[in-house]
Symmetry: C2
Subunit: 325 residues, 2 copies
């Protein structure tokens, strides 16, 4: 490996001069500059970031901790993060929790050992893992962001889509399509989260009515269990709070020869590729995944630079209308 010392010797200047010339924009005699440049080229010098990191006691590595990367939901956010970090010359580590046989504590420990510059925690909005760990992380002055959750503010930077608004927009959209008997379908979401959706529905319907709530349980057969339930209640519009379930329900409805959107409108929460691929193409409420990633990264960078920033960012969802409503 070619070091500063090597080019110092080769160029007949001190390492200090070269270091200054390379790092700061400090003035150097033309002659010295030429000598240095020649030496760098001739010996093929490349700077050693690890040594720099040790000296400065900081790295340019930001970690994203998520359940798994092979999921469009997470990978879209990650891509947003990657974009911003790249622009600012930070590197991106990925840790897949579902894939790593490490406990939460071990992963957090890893962050400290590696002098990680900042951490983005990503999870489903019903997930509460790592919640306590974040306080540890912050107490060690590691910038952190908890992204895509919807939990009460608890002293750490938070970022999530406005689910009440999402619900309101969704319900309004269904209503505007002449659907008046609306059901919300979800995969075992916790009650406090469902409350957000119920609130949104009330705002949309200008009433105190509650939508029919239908829970999809693990291994349930939609055509046998869910659709009869829908029909029995004369439902004419469903808002499915999980994109994948929306796709499956749509498939089941088509199999049951129920016309979409005439007899049943289907609205999905989340707008990845799969909503577009589904037949019919699904209308959906876009939760802005990429933007969520972008903002997360920006919040991390603000913290690193000790700039002011809003500790809680709430993103506005919007409707994307396609064929299913």
């Amino acid at each position: 490996m070619v070091t500063l010392k090597d080019i110092a010797k080769h160029a007949n200047v001190s390492t200090a001069t070269i270091s200054r010339y390379l790092s700061s924009n400090i003035v150097v005699k033309k002659e010295t500059e030429e000598k240095i440049q020649r030496a760098i080229k001739e010996l093929g010098y490349v700077t050693n970031v690890v040594a720099k990191s040790l000296k400065h006691m900081e790295t340019f590595n930001v970690a994203v901790i998520l359940p798994k990367i092979n999921n469009l939901y997470y990978s879209e956010m990650t891509s947003g993060i990657s974009q911003i970090l790249g622009q600012h010359h930070y590197n991106l580590y990925i840790y897949e929790v579902d894939n790593l046989n490490l406990s939460e504590i071990e992963i957090i420990q890893l962050m400290r050992e590696n002098m990680i510059a900042g951490i983005v925690f990503i999870g489903l909005f019903s997930d509460r893992s790592f919640k306590d760990s974040i306080h540890d992380v912050m107490s060690w002055n590691i910038p952190a962001v908890y992204a895509n959750r919807c939990i009460p503010y608890d002293g750490f930077p938070l970022l999530y889509p406005d689910l009440t608004k999402a619900s309101q927009l969704g319900a309004e959209h269904l209503l505007s399509k002449g659907k008046h008997k609306i059901a919300y379908v979800h995969n075992q979401l916790p009650d406090d989260l469902l409350d957000h959706f119920i609130d949104g529905f009330k705002q949309a319907s200008h009433s105190d009515d509650t939508p029919t709530m239908i829970e999809i349980k693990e291994g349930m057969d939609l055509a046998k269990d869910c659709i009869p339930h829908l029909l029995r209640n004369d439902i004419d519009g469903v808002f499915v709070l999980n994109e994948m379930s929306a796709v499956h329900l749509t498939k089941a409805l088509v199999d049951c020869q129920i016309s979409i959107p005439k007899d049943m409108a289907v609205l999905s929460l989340g707008n990845s590729l799969i909503s577009q691929i589904s037949t019919p193409e699904l209308s959906c409420v876009d939760l802005q995944n990429r933007e969520l990633g972008i903002r997360s990264a920006e919040m991390i960078l603000s913290q690193i630079r000790k700039e002011a920033f809003a500790p809680v960012t709430v993103l506005e969802p919007f409707i994307v209308e396609r064929k299913s409503t």
Copy 2:
């Protein structure tokens, strides 16, 4: 930050003893061990991996360089890589080329600066970028793997799915379904790659016949341009060499009221979520993306450990039959 020095002072032993106790499994007096353990706990020491890396002149960071992460094709491979690296306590860097405003040279430079332990290059099989850079990387003794390409062996570790076999399996499958007028649909694949597919077709048909080759051009309307072409040639089975295109073509066929698979069987190359979501669900040739990732990571680790390994790994595709054939 609590350092070895700090706990040395606190425990009244030398840094050398602690370092040895922590890193090697060298014997220490019971009394010393207790003193050290107590000091570590009381001061909250965590080891500094950056300092270790500088000392040892090696990191535990492996980089994956890919076009973009928000694509099931790449994220599935990446997840496989992540799984293996995690098991061996390596960290995973991700660099999205499409997202990073860096030239190939700059990215490679970055790898050197950061003392990356190994690099997995991932790309579409029609892509040839980074091909030359790999020789540079290897000349600097950075372990590297070129994954998911199908290019002639050129002195660097290679890993790809057997496309000729994939073609053969696909053609055999369509033939076995009674389809005799078969077309291959692709998105502007280069000729040398198409040759593999043509070879596979010949092997399947035990003849020297060539399948009808149809090229999808940027912005082409499948219903208007592609399907009439198919019909004109009495095609009754298509093998689409790109999963996304297979989905789109299927949609277009359904719109044109062509019955799948009765009037037209559709087979897709690649087996991600989207083939399952498509209506009808697509039969496909699975290229083993996750396994490709797993093997890539293993090849990197072998190189790092200077173990023997096969420089070229070819993975066997297999048929997954669903509703479209």
